[in-house]
Assembly symmetry: C2
DNA sequence: TTGAAAAAGAAAAACGGTTTTCTGTTTTTC
DNA sequence: GAAAAACAGAAAACCGTTTTTCTTTTTCAA
């Protein structure tokens, strides 16, 4: 390993001089500056980030804990975060919680020690836990609203669920089910939106709990739901994955979509447009959400006072064929 | 921040004693041991990993550079790596190269400084570059075969492409196109398999270059391919994403699958079973590939001589409706 | 009982950086 | 033309660990 000492020797200056020139924290004569820079070039010196961190207490890295890397929704969020972090010369370190709270806790702990701040992209921890973490290290959550020191970026969950449900009602559905995700903020809001839309129309509600908010979850619920006594004629799923899992089983069972059952998801992952029929959903600005989260975090790291520590970005309806019935 | 010094003070022992007890690198009297351990408990002391790394030169972390986090294929690979790393108490740090070689280079550089070894899950760098990197730090590639010091895990690409193509031929296809991915080992092998199968059957080959090996790539190629003068009646795509992108456009253009064109992908990502018709593909043991890659890397880190630095795992055909024609 | 070996634990050096302090030279300034 | 200020650069202290070295005590065999 080639260290700052080697550079100092090569350039015939002191170690401190090299350090200051590298970080240009002080100006030197052009002669010295040149010697140092060419020595750095020649030896291909890369400052050891660990040593740097020990010394400065900063890492210039952001940690991102993803709820589930297999959920394409988070892929876009991550790209948003990365782009913003790149722009400010921060490194992004990712970790996949695999929907397991204990694993998430471990990851946060190990990651926290290695970065300046954390983004929790879909957490399974309690609000209290997250608030406690935020006392140690700047944290921004995505899709959660823990309050306290925690900064948050979310979208208008209530509204889109309300609108999607209303859309289902508009197409003439009378028995609309909601496939609920894990009991956290996002789900509550979506569920509220769903319920309020039904209330408004005077329709009954049917809520089913997804065992997991993904393809398998949708699949596992589909059997009872589609073949049960009172099959719904409309379904709003917690997310696109669950909706798509359900649609697969529907196809296997020859339940027609949207004729027999209309299905809507939330998220608008790239695959939502690929299935047949294409999935009605809500387009969540995931890239933008990631960007804002990163921006918020880095502002906090720079010591700026965050004016709006909680931002709500707007998702929009995206009506596709899975709910559309041809005009009769 | 609470440091080892605080613990030493609290336990009324020297710093070195604390260090040695924590890493149990030396035995102490039970009295001292107890004092130190309860001090650690009480103060919730977590050793600073950076300081540790500076001192030991080890990080106990593996870096994983993913070609594209939006490609679900890699999600499974990452899970495989994580599980194996967990089992040996290693931290996994992920980074998303976004299919951009320059970005990949940067990521590798920053990550290399923070970890003990690297997994490149689908690289865009040249074999030479990768070999050069492997001289600095242990590297295992997935889906590449750079040789030199580089360890590799791949699957039987040639064979599955051959079999898929032969399958298309068996279903009566005469004009079979290959949508080629980036010009690296994986693609060459798949292409070879494709070509050899055609050769065997005495059929002509049609190779189209995907602008990018993902949904958009498949979509952008679909227009000319499906509406052009000599439309193929069978298509083997470099991967599932490209196949699915193409299928979407086909549906929009009312080209029937598999009646007009049979389509096959490679990878068997979870979504391949969800589209309509379900996609014929090759099931690549992605989880297992990740596990083996991690195992290989960690063995090398432990100084073990790697007996087989290059492993080939077997993928299997997965025939679904996108190529199947009902018996007439 | 002695005296060498072993044990227990503290002190100090090291890891690779950054930052503060210090020491000579040049420049200013009047 | 002398004192003060500014400048250039080196030296030393420090960050939080581990590891080596050193000192003091204890143990145990002869």
């Amino acid at each position: 390993m080639i260290t700052i000492k080697d550079v100092a020797r090569e350039a015939e200056v002191s170690v401190s001089t090299v350090s200051k020139i590298i970080n240009n924290t002080k100006r030197f004569s052009t002669a010295v500056e040149l010697r140092v820079k060419s020595a750095v070039e020649k030896l291909e010196f890369k400052p050891n980030p660990h040593a740097r961190s020990v010394s400065t207490g900063k890492t210039h890295a952001l940690g991102v804990v993803i709820l589930d890397i297999a959920n394409p929704y988070y892929a876009a969020v991550v790209k948003g975060i990365s782009h913003e972090a790149d722009a400010k010369n921060h490194t992004v370190l990712l970790a996949d919680a695999e929907e397991r709270p204990n694993r998430e806790r471990d990851l946060i702990e190990t990651l926290a020690a290695r970065v300046d701040g954390l983004v929790l992209a879909g957490s399974r921890l309690s609000d209290t836990d997250i608030r406690a973490l935020a006392l140690q290290k700047p944290i921004v959550t995505i899709g959660r609203f823990p309050g306290g020191q925690v900064m948050s970026v979310v979208s208008n969950e209530y509204e889109i669920a309300f609108q999607l449900t209303r859309h289902l009602i508009t197409t003439g559905r009378k028995q609309i089910a909601f496939l609920a995700g894990p009991a956290f903020w996002v789900n509550s809001e979506r569920q509220r939106g769903y319920l309020d839309a039904l209330l408004e129309a005077g329709l009954p509600s049917m809520i089913y709990q997804l065992p997991s908010p993904n393809i398998e979850g949708g699949e596992s619920l589909a059997g009872t739901l589609l073949m049960g006594a009172n099959r719904p004629d409309g379904i709003l799923a917690y997310n696109d994955l669950a909706a798509m899992g359900l649609m697969k089983v529907a196809r296997d069972l020859s339940v027609r979509i949207p004729e027999d059952v209309a299905v809507a998801g939330i998220g608008d992952i790239p695959f939502a447009a690929l299935v047949s029929p294409p999935l009605t959903t809500a387009t969540v600005p995931s890239l933008e959400i990631g960007k804002i989260a990163a921006r918020l975090l880095m502002q906090r790291l720079e010591g700026l006072t965050i004016l709006e520590p909680s931002l709500v970005l707007r998702a929009k309806l995206c009506i596709r064929a899975s709910t559309r019935i041809e005009e009769k």
